[in-house]
């Protein structure tokens, strides 16, 4: 035992980890799209963090003299409202900036919940096999048998509309992907020599699962986590758009689109900008996801 504790710090010492990150960055930065995606994503995080400083107005302030004012560059627009105003005179730019908070929050919460649930179930299924595996994976198959948006809709009907319930529903729907991934990875790793060695050294089930096997399954999980982040934003926006996600006057982008729908033929800007914000965010995250796949998956790595 004492030997292994001596070896461990050397193996994961700082020079090794640094080269690990360098290798990662080397492969990640080859992908120009991924770097652009990362840059846009950082901008979005900054916009969300500093929304109160950046936004010219509070997201729910109504100007009764400026309903459906077009953006600044169009006739009738003014620099006062750069991207125009909505039907009750709220500044669209300010609402979009505050909306970034919701979208990033949705992504973060959903991925955290889905990842935690998926890792737990996948580890249990892949490690113990037998009836535990059968029971867990049958339930996962069942969740995947429904179109994801339909299942999320039905769950929100049960839980009641709202942002939090929408996030819960989406996490539940996305979670089987993680469980399947972890299970497959655990099954592949379980019979490897280092796991057997740890077992012989006296590691318990929990230690074997969490400390020995799990760190070696991280790469596909990170990629899937990124893709789920963007999926969660899309699905939450879709629920908001259908009126079952975040409720007005929350400046969530999907919800903004829902209330803009009736003005589509009169005021293009109330529809265009919130959707563009969703598209840019999701695209940036998917670009990062592609880059991560290239960098983390040695099989797909260009030699």
């Amino acid at each position: 035992m004492s030997q292994s504790t001596e070896i461990a710090p050397m193996a994961s010492g700082s020079p090794d980890r640094l080269t690990g990150f360098r290798t990662f960055w080397h492969y990640f930065s080859v992908n120009r799209g991924a770097v652009i995606g990362l840059f846009v994503f950082i901008l979005l995080v900054l916009a969300a963090l500093f929304a109160p400083l950046l936004a010219p107005y509070a997201p729910d302030v109504q100007d009764k003299t400026a309903f459906l004012r077009p953006p600044a560059w169009q006739a009738g627009g003014s620099a006062q409202y750069l991207l125009g105003t909505d039907a009750v005179g709220r500044d669209i730019l300010s609402r979009l900036l505050y909306g970034a908070r919701f979208s990033l929050l949705i992504g973060a919460v959903v991925v955290t919940l889905a990842l935690t649930g998926g890792i737990t179930l996948g580890l249990l299924a892949g490690y113990f096999r037998g009836w535990v595996d059968v029971a867990i994976m049958r339930v996962m198959d069942l969740i995947l048998a429904f179109p994801s948006l339909l299942l999320a809709l039905v769950l929100v009907t049960i839980l009641g509309p709202g942002l939090f319930n929408a996030m819960l529903a989406i996490s539940l729907v996305l979670q089987p992907h993680f469980a399947r991934l972890v299970r497959a990875a655990v099954m592949a790793e379980k019979s490897r020599e280092y796991v057997v060695a740890a077992k012989v050294a006296g590691a318990g089930h929990l230690r074997l699962m969490l400390a020995t096997i799990l760190p070696n399954c991280l790469a596909p999980l990170i990629v899937q986590g990124t893709l789920s982040f963007s999926n969660a934003i899309l699905e939450a926006a879709a629920l908001g758009f259908l009126g079952l996600g975040a409720q007005p006057p929350t400046p969530e982008w999907g919800t903004m689109l829902a209330s803009a729908r009736e003005f589509i033929l009169r005021a293009w800007w109330v529809v265009t900008f919130p959707g563009l914000a969703i598209l840019i965010t999701v695209l940036a995250i998917n670009l990062i996801g592609d880059g991560l796949r290239d960098a983390l998956d040695p099989k797909l790595r260009r030699s």
Binding site: G33, R138, V139, D141, L142, A145, F146, P147, S148, L149, L150, L153, V154, T157, I158, G160, S230, L234, A237, A238, F241, L242, G243, L244, G254, L257, R261, I264, L265, W268, V271, T272, P274, G275, L276, I278, L279, V282, L283, N286, L287, D290
Partner: protein, 335 residues
């Protein structure tokens, strides 16, 4: 082959049971009293309440209720819609062809553009065409389709005035459905202006619904082609002096299409989820809009049975895809 098929069907049984349990549990998990929920918003007298309780079987033990539910569903009894008072299965039968027609044309759109684009990108790997196509595909894949639909309405219906905003057919046309596909029925009746009307209503929703499958198919075709183009038998074909078109079109494509067929099959769930949004935007009278409307009308009998029917369709299509895959790829059957 028969053993493979039976094996696949046997594996579906637990899922099938699970789906019925989900649909059964749905009504019982709704907040509030399930009978009041099933009875709609109007409220009921105590006498009627007891009657309904008897009718829905809520005074039985839970496992008997479930057995009763499965019995009903197995004999094709999916309940009666609270809002329209019509049997749910009748409503489904009238609305499903609309979703099928929309999904069919969406898939045609995605395949006709996606497969050639993917092949061309793979053949010209690294060219500007390849790069811009893959960039566009990623944009398509990231698209919030409900917004994409609104944008197309703004441009094609609002600005250009080319297409109608909503619905399936001009109101002046009416005929008894034969196939349920408006485009085909109008041809069968020989009404060409009705055909034009049906087509102009169909084109935007089909593009919107087909966008994500298009992106997925283009990406999948490209990567499958790239893999196949590096294989020995393709090199052999080239070495034999066959023309480039023949090598790509026959030797490579035939093998590259195998994973693409699976991808296309797996898009069915995406299509049905997308149909919920697309049909809502374009007021397309299919099962997606039906589900959303029923949720808002609190017509939970429809939601329950719709959930069940849609899950069954997805399951059946996945089974068909599995079988087709085994037919075109003998290696799967042996495994």
């Amino acid at each position: 082959m028969l053993r493979y098929l039976l094996n696949k069907i046997a594996l579906l049984i637990p899922t099938l049971v699970g789906i019925t349990i989900c649909a059964f549990a749905f009504v019982r998990l709704l907040p509030g009293d399930p009978i009041l929920a099933m009875a709609g918003e109007h409220g009921v007298t105590p006498a009627r309440y007891e009657e309904l309780k008897e009718q829905f079987g809520y005074n039985l033990p839970i496992w008997q209720q479930y057995a009763r539910y499965v019995g009903e569903v197995a004999t094709g009894d999916f309940g009666v819609s609270i809002s329209s008072k019509r049997p749910v299965i009748e409503e489904f039968k009238t609305l499903f062809p609309a979703t099928l027609e929309l999904s069919f044309f969406a898939m045609i759109f995605a395949m006709v553009l996606g497969i050639p684009a993917g092949i061309f990108a793979a053949v010209k790997r690294g060219s500007w065409f390849d790069q811009s196509l893959m960039g566009t595909a990623l944009v398509g894949y990231s698209m919030p389709i409900f917004w994409w639909g609104l944008l197309l309405i703004i441009f094609f219906s609002g600005y250009l005035g080319w297409t109608p905003v909503s619905g399936r057919m001009g109101l002046q046309f009416f005929f008894k459905p034969i196939t349920g596909f408006m485009t085909i029925d109008s041809i069968l009746y020989g009404k060409w202006d009705a055909f034009r009307s049906a087509l102009s209503h169909l084109v935007l929703p089909a593009i919107v619904l087909g966008t994500i499958p298009l992106a997925v198919i283009a990406r999948q075709t490209r990567s499958a082609m790239l893999e196949v183009l590096g294989e020995d038998y393709v090199r052999t074909a080239r070495a034999k002096g066959l023309s480039s078109a023949r090598v790509i079109g026959v030797h490579a494509l035939r093998n590259a299409l195998i994973p693409v067929v699976t991808t296309i099959g797996l898009q069915v769930g995406t299509l049905l989820a997308g149909a919920i949004l697309t049909e809502t935007i374009f007021a397309w009278p299919g099962i997606g809009k039906w589900m959303v409307d029923s949720i808002f009308k609190r017509d939970y009998v429809v939601v329950q049975s719709g959930l069940l029917l849609i899950a069954l369709i997805v399951m059946a299509v996945n089974l068909i895809v599995d079988v087709l895959y085994a037919v075109i790829n003998p290696r799967i059957r042996a495994a």
